[in-house]
């Protein structure tokens, strides 16, 4: 355990440091990263999303989160994040957290065929407007855009993965313009056939960090909930040796935080 390094980062960020933080390594270059989280039926990767949400809304920073929810309503996230020590309701009032509830928003215009594109276009317009407003408030803050289930966005668009891809590309363009970060969650095991693959491969290609949550090969256990594989592509300014790192470790999800540890280091 590199304890010295750990301590330094702790003071830098004011947050408990973990293997995940270390592997992702965003603490150094302050945002502007694209993170893709992938999970499967057996192991949910939603906790990684919660982690990034808490991290961005930390009281020390002034970052803003735009959260696009397809999977769960606000009450679900509010309750989880409150247990982790972060009050979303308060953050919403403080203009640091914008929650776009897509569970209900796209339901009414499901019938019309033309509305499919309009729904996503309207959503992008909403995001862009919010990002514009937030970035005009102060120069230094990072805006993180989170999507909690890309596959459900595809369902909402009635199967036109091209529209979803377009949407994602538009969103990525905000990265250059406003310096936004992206965290998206998708289910890897859905995409097996060739015509659906672009939706998982293209975001992976554009991502800086890929985090995969998988079950253990040996089956479920009560004290190890699964393993995370973190692929950090590293930025161009990094030294050659440190770029593109793959880390692999186990995790155990608890109500208020997540334990990360290397295989076999748990007694």
């Amino acid at each position: 355990m590199p304890t010295g390094k750990k301590k330094r980062k702790k003071s830098l960020r004011g947050m408990d440091n973990s293997l995940l933080e270390e592997a992702v390594g965003i603490a150094d270059n302050r945002g502007r990263v694209v993170v893709v989280v992938e999970d499967c039926v057996e192991t949910s990767g939603a906790f990684v999303l919660h982690h990034f949400l808490k991290r961005s809304l930390h009281p020390d920073s002034s970052d803003v989160v735009v959260f696009i929810a397809f999977a769960h309503p606000f009450s679900h996230y509010d309750r989880i994040l409150r247990k982790m020590g972060c009050n979303l309701t308060v953050q919403r009032k403080n203009q640091r957290f914008l929650f776009l509830d897509m569970l209900t928003l796209e339901c009414p215009d499901r019938n019309e065929r033309e509305a499919r594109e309009d729904g996503l276009l309207a959503l992008y317009g909403e995001i862009e407007k919010a990002v514009e407003i937030y970035s005009s408030l102060e120069g230094s803050r990072t805006i993180t855009i989170m999507i909690d289930d890309v596959s459900l966005m595809e369902v909402a668009a009635n199967g036109s993965s091209n529209h979803v891809l377009d949407f994602l590309h538009y969103c990525y363009s905000l990265k250059e313009k406003y310096g936004c970060s992206f965290v998206t969650l998708n289910h890897e095991d859905i995409y097996s056939s060739a015509n659906t693959l672009p939706l998982i491969l293209q975001p992976e290609y554009l991502a800086d960090v890929i985090i995969k949550a998988e079950p253990l090969a040996t089956g479920l256990a009560s004290d190890v909930h699964g393993q995370l594989t973190v692929l950090n592509k590293g930025s161009a300014c990094d030294l050659g040796g440190s770029s593109s790192k793959v880390r692999n470790f186990h995790f155990r999800v608890k109500e208020n935080n997540v334990d990360y540890f290397y295989p076999g280091t748990r007694t």
Binding site: T43, S44, R79, L103, N158, L220, H225
Partner: protein
């Protein structure tokens, strides 16, 4: 809610929760969720209390056996016991015929032959913090026939007519409509009627859809329509006080879409019949003769929490007690000669789970 009761000390337990539990057939669970009974006492116990209110339960059918109907029947029968509004959709021409097949509850005395409450008090010492979870269950059982959270059902005795003649039971046939619009409309009116008024659940509802993608339905080839229907249903159920159970044959959903279906489910259960004369399986499992089939729990609803539910066993055998009541039992694997210690990878075995328990100390 709580404002009506003056709270004398800051340490008093929040009583508002007790008020919501007055709804018949709803039990409070952790993280501000509530449970509905599945109609099978053992399944309730396995899932930690029952189906979570506002969740979508999916049952993967065995294409060769109607075991999923057992679950659906018990689920709906339990709803009738609690006088909850029901919605049932099936690909049959006459979906109302389903009501005639519902099992009737056993007389409470003979049904409780396994003496659950007495057992728990004597054999098990529960830490006081957790007592509230068990206490509720006990009190509910002891209150007598009517208020029972979960009944035992006699599968051989059909439910008497007066149970469902006076109640709100909507039945829809999936066969005649070319798309899912009518069903979605019915579901949305149904959930709107029972939806939470200003945050409080006034009444719990049950939606059961049998064999959603069966080939009798005209829409069975429209994969995206079915997916978006499930997604909309999930959204509806989540915002109202209802539980939706969908059973579907996974082999008939096109292979690229099955995973999407599984991801949409909050709780995922599969049932499987066991072949009559499987000599190898009979050697492996004790009590093979009494088994009706196997039930596996793949996913348990995780609402308002990020901690995954890790069950001690995921596969259970479905048996009939006294040829009447459906019970679920942990699989007991008969010892295999020559390799006594190698039951590590079998998650379903009881011996395996007790072994790992020893490592905790």
């Amino acid at each position: 809610m709580a404002s009506s009761r003056p709270r004398t000390s800051s340490f008093s337990r929040n009583i508002s929760s007790a008020a919501t539990s007055q709804i018949p057939g709803v039990k409070l669970g952790p993280n501000g969720t509530s449970f509905l009974s599945s109609g099978i006492p053992d399944l309730d116990q396995i899932l930690g209390g029952g189906f979570t209110l506002g969740s979508l339960v999916m049952i993967m059918e065995d294409p060769e056996a109607p075991h999923h109907m057992l679950l659906l029947r018990n689920f709906m029968s339990q709803g009738l016991m609690h006088k909850q509004p029901l919605l049932y959709a099936s690909p049959e021409r006459d979906p109302r015929g389903f009501l005639g097949t519902l099992p009737s509850p056993m007389a409470s005395k003979e049904g409780k032959s396994h003496e659950q409450p007495a057992d728990q008090d004597t054999n098990l010492r529960i830490a006081w913090q957790y007592k509230k979870y068990f206490g509720e269950q006990n009190s509910e059982v002891q209150r007598g026939g009517k208020a029972e959270y979960c009944n035992d059902f006699d599968l051989r005795k059909p439910l008497e007519r007066h149970f469902y003649s006076g109640q709100r039971v909507d039945c829809i046939s999936l066969r005649d409509s070319p798309n899912l619009e009518p069903l979605l409309e019915r579901c949305s009116t149904f959930s709107a009627q029972i939806s939470k008024s200003d945050g409080n659940i006034t009444c719990a509802g049950r939606i059961a859809i049998q064999s959603l993608c069966s080939p009798q339905c005209d829409f069975s080839d429209k994969d995206w329509d079915m997916l978006s229907f499930i997604r909309s249903l999930k959204g509806m159920v989540r915002s109202s006080g209802a539980v939706a159970v969908i059973s579907f044959p996974p082999s008939l959903v096109s292979p690229t879409f099955v995973k999407r279906w599984l991801h949409l489910a909050d709780t995922l259960i599969s049932v499987k019949a066991i072949p009559d004369e499987d000599k190898e399986l009979a050697k492996l499992l004790t009590g093979y003769q009494d088994m009706l089939g196997l039930l596996s729990v793949h996913k348990v609803a995780r609402i308002n929490t990020q901690v995954p539910a890790i069950l001690e066993a995921t596969t259970f055998s479905m048996k009939l007690r006294k040829r009447r009541a459906l019970v679920l039992e942990c699989l007991n694997q008969a010892p295999v000669d020559g390799s006594s210690g190698s039951s590590y990878g079998t998650s379903g075995s009881c011996s395996g789970s007790s072994k790992t328990g020893n490592h905790d100390f």
